[in-house]
């Protein structure tokens, strides 16, 4: 069965390249343009993994993940944070709150990112 990935990214071009690559790699992909939308879709679709941008309008990634954690399903949700240089404050906060499974910087290559996604999904859940 195909693994389901939810991409939450406000930048349309990045969202699209990620979607295309992941579909090519054999994943089922959903897209959300901000935290609000992402939260709703996550609760509805229960993806195997969420690729989460941090800086977004309406609701940022951290806020979205925090709210998701409060839902029954959200407790076991997994996410990879897509971050940029200069967002270290947010990363530290995320780490402190135990939110993301992995941090991946956007200047990493797509191949590298796909590898990371596969690894994360195949890992056994501790929760």
């Amino acid at each position: 069965m195909k693994k389901h990935i939810l991409i939450v990214e406000d930048e349309k071009s990045l969202r699209r390249v990620l979607r295309d690559k992941l579909v090519l790699e054999g994943f089922t992909v959903s897209e959300a343009a901000n935290g609000e939308e992402g939260l709703q879709m996550a609760v509805e679709e229960r993806p195997d993994l969420i690729l989460l941008d941090i800086v977004m309008p309406k609701m940022n990634g951290l806020e979205m993940f925090k709210r998701l954690r409060e839902t029954p399903w959200g407790k076991t949700a997994r996410a990879i944070i897509l971050t940029n240089l200069g967002e270290e404050n947010e990363i530290v906060t995320a780490l402190e709150e135990g939110i993301p499974d992995y941090l991946v910087k956007k200047d990493w290559s797509l191949a590298h990112l796909v590898e990371k996604i596969r690894m994360t999904i195949s890992e056994k859940r501790l929760a």
Partner: protein, 805 residues
């Protein structure tokens, strides 16, 4: 030890003796008092009983005697001869014969009984018919009581003085009656010799001094001798003693007449005729109406008690004396060692520390003595130490006073010097005047201070910039809190003073200042010492420029760069990822030409990413702190990889690279990204600024404390990195600025336009924040060597909010 001195009374022995003897004497006195009272009373009552016995016995004897006398006279009167004779009349022929016979018989009787002075025979008419011894025949005694009372029966006439016989006497008279008819014929009277009574009384017959018995008649006249009154007192001395009065009391008389004497008469203390206290009693003699008094002086009666008391007291005081003596001797024995201990203490106190008490008795005094001796030894020891210290300190004091003298001389010298200085100063002042004129109109804030920082001069711009007037400024300390300064931390001022005063070098840096109106501003200050010929600092010249707006612009610039970089990142990521997809053939196969073009895009993109990353790092450093997160790392491996990345350029420039990394470098706790950046930047600089075919040497090792590295001694075991090249070098006049942001030396600007001027600035910040040091040696056209050290213990952790990389 002198008696009655204060000391004597204060001594323990005396106290003990006096206390105990005083107690003893008190006990003796109190006991004596009670003994005396009890024994006196007992003896008095015993004496009283004795006296009572004597009195009663004698009274009985007297009564018996008197009764016998009465019987004798009665018997005589019953002799019929007398009755017969008295029945005759003188005319009868036989009268004279009979008279002779009667007279003879009376005389016989009289002669037989010495108790009788005289006997007379009185006829019924009361006329004396016969008398013995003294002739008194014919005298009429019809009115005499011994005649009238004798008519009724035997009568005893009370004691009286007889004119006939000229003697004190008493008379017993008895009636003579006719044998047959009982007719009264006359009376026979016997005047009695009281000696017999007196014999019975037996005054002074006992072994006493004052005990006496005497008789008193009804009129209370003495009728017998007493010890203290002779015969003359008889019938002359009337005794009104209470004892006598008691005797003649009606109740007593009545009691005596019905029976015996009262056996119990309570002891009474009387006073006798001499006025002396006596113990006495009495007995009434009813036959004659006399009273027998028996008495003794109380003094004599209780004398045995007194004697006993005396003996008691003597014994008591003797015992006290013995006790005191023994006590004295004992206390001497106890006190003697204490005294000798005290003498020893005095000796020691007077400085004889070698003296020892040396008493070895096993008692407490012995213990005390031994303790004292030990103490003396201890004192001697500590005294010796003190003496030693005093000697040392004395020497020190002498030395100090020498030093003070020297200092005084030196002071005088200095005063002379000051004179010279003053002259110099005047010369300098003239120079200063010229200088002041030159800078008065300058737009920068300029102050001149003396060597202690006291402001001597301030130009017009100081007033304009700070808002303080020159009268407020002059004479105050430059940079003090009361003026525009005092806002920097202590370390800043320490460094500044060390630089300008000790090293005598100019100091420059950004300073936070405050205008008089409270508004803060940033100034870039340069303080330069003006050093005289003798090497002393004469003045400081401080030049400050208000750089507030410059700094604000700087900040805005940094923020802009940060924001811009961030915004650049997103399109860069997009370009990168889309190109990656194209190259991977995700959008269909690409030709080799297309592939080449796409690869150019990738290269350009990555160069752009690198530049943006550098700009971001710099802006982050300037905006605040960044994170240093050390973890045990293989520093050798990191260094090798950082250099390896640049092998392509090295080969292109035909540079000769030597990498000298110590074997088996242990893991060191560093932030791997930061360490990678340090090696990468230093080596890329070396490559960039070294001409083709030049040489580059990178070394990495752990060096122990004390070893020399790059011209410096290591203060601790350190990780040492050096990157040397044979490049263009850094011009001497620009070496100070080499770590400044965006600085690029003149000599390389023409040769290579690739540099950002951010690399060394970034490295210096990283090294400083990680607790390391960075420095270099460089000569123009010869090359440069950069040295970096970190403690072997690793980089300092720094809880920044941002990571670099």
């Amino acid at each position: 030890m002198s008696f009655f001195s204060r000391k004597f009374f204060a001594s323990i022995g005396t106290k003990i003796i006096f206390t105990f003897s005083g107690l003893f004497v008190s006990v003796v006195l109190i006991a004596g008092f009670y003994l005396d009272r009890n024994s006196s009373e007992q003896i008095a009552s015993v004496t009283f009983r004795d006296i009572q016995n004597i009195n009663h016995n004698k009274a009985e004897n007297i009564r018996t005697f008197l009764r016998s006398e009465k019987e004798i006279v009665e018997m005589l009167a019953a002799d019929t001869t007398f009755a017969d004779f008295l029945s005759l009349s003188p005319e009868d022929l036989t009268y004279s014969i009979e008279k002779e016979e009667v007279s003879e018989e009376l005389n016989n009787f009289f002669g037989e009984d010495a108790k009788i002075y005289q006997i007379v025979l009185i006829d019924a008419a009361g006329k004396i018919v016969v008398s013995t011894d003294v002739p008194e025949e014919g005298i009429d005694r019809s009115q005499d009581d011994f005649f009238t009372n004798a008519k009724k029966g035997v009568y005893v006439k009370d004691f009286y003085f007889s004119d006939i016989i000229h003697k004190n006497t008493y008379a017993v008279s008895a009636p003579i009656k006719d044998e047959k008819t009982g007719e009264f014929r006359g009376v026979i009277v016997a005047r009695m010799n009281p000696q017999n009574l007196y014999d019975i009384l037996n005054i002074g017959g006992d072994n006493t001094q004052t005990q006496e018995n005497f008789l008193v008649n009804r009129e209370q006249y003495l009728i017998s001798k007493t010890r203290f009154l002779g015969e003359d007192a008889i019938l002359k001395k009337q005794l009104n003693m209470a004892n006598v009065e008691d005797c003649f009391a009606a109740s007593e008389i009545a009691n005596t007449q019905i029976g015996e004497y009262p056996s119990e008469i309570n002891l009474k203390n009387y006073i006798d005729y001499r006025g002396v206290p006596i113990i006495g009693t009495h007995a009434y003699i009813p036959e004659t109406g006399w009273c027998l008094i028996t008495k003794m002086d109380t003094m004599e009666a209780v004398a045995p008690s007194r004697q006993m008391l005396f003996v008691f007291y003597v014994t008591g005081f003797l015992a006290t004396a013995i006790f005191v003596s023994i006590g004295f001797l004992l206390s001497r024995k106890i006190i003697h060692p204490i005294r000798s201990l005290q003498r020893s203490v005095e000796k020691v106190r007077n400085g004889d520390l070698d003296h020892r008490v040396g008493m070895n008795s096993l008692d407490e005094v012995g213990d005390l003595s031994r303790s004292f001796d030990e103490m003396t030894v201890a004192i001697k020891r500590s005294r010796a130490e003190v003496d030693q210290k005093v000697r040392e300190q004395t020497i020190e004091i002498v030395e100090n006073s020498k030093k003070i003298e020297e200092q005084q001389r030196a002071t005088l010298n200095i005063l002379e010097d000051i004179e010279k200085e003053k002259e110099n100063a005047e010369l300098l002042a003239k120079d200063l005047e010229k200088f002041k004129l030159a800078v008065e109109g300058a737009s920068d804030h300029i102050v001149i201070t003396d060597s202690d920082g006291m402001i001597l001069y301030a130009n017009a711009s100081v007033e304009k910039i700070t808002g303080f007037s020159r009268t407020e400024i002059l004479g105050k300390k430059a940079g003090a809190g009361e003026l525009w300064g005092g806002l920097m931390d202590l370390e800043f001022y320490k460094t500044m003073w060390r630089t300008i005063k000790e090293q005598k070098k100019p100091f420059s840096g950004d300073v936070q200042n405050r205008r008089k109106n409270g508004v803060l501003y940033q100034a870039y200050a340069t303080i330069s010492p003006i050093v005289g010929d003798d090497g002393k600092v004469l003045f400081f010249v401080g030049i400050e420029r208000d750089v507030t707006s410059e700094r604000e612009i700087d900040k805005a610039k940094t923020e802009f760069v940060s924001l811009a970089s961030h915004q650049l990142r997103t399109p860069l990521s997009a370009i990168g990822w889309y190109t990656e997809m194209l190259l991977a053939g995700d959008a269909g196969a690409v030709s080799s030409d297309q592939k080449q073009y796409l690869e150019e895009i990738v290269r350009g993109n990555s160069r752009m990413t690198e530049l943006v990353n550098s700009l971001l790092n710099v802006s982050r450093i300037e905006l605040g702190t960044f994170l240093v997160d050390p973890k045990p790392s293989d520093v050798a491996d990191i260094a090798r990889k950082a250099i390896e990345e640049q092998r392509e350029i090295i080969q292109n420039k035909e540079l000769q690279l030597t990498v000298d990394i110590q074997e088996r470098v242990p893991e060191i706790s560093v932030d791997p990204k930061l360490f990678w950046m340090i090696v990468q930047n230093l080596s890329s600089n070396a490559i960039k600024y070294t001409p083709e075919k030049g040489r580059i040497i990178v070394t990495l090792r752990i060096a122990p404390k004390g070893e020399s590295f790059g011209g410096r001694y290591l203060s601790q075991d350190s990780l040492c990195l050096s990157v040397a090249d044979t490049g263009y070098g850094i011009p001497l006049n620009q070496q100070e600025k080499i770590f400044s942001k965006l600085f690029r030396a003149d000599n390389v600007l023409t040769k290579d336009t690739d540099g950002t001027g951010l690399g060394l600035y970034l490295i210096k910040s990283i090294v400083d924040n990680g607790g390391g040091e960075i420095w270099f040696q460089s000569e123009e056209d010869k090359g440069s060597t950069f040295f970096v050290i970190f403690p072997k213990t690793g980089m300092l952790k720094r809880d920044g909010t941002r990571a670099i990389g």
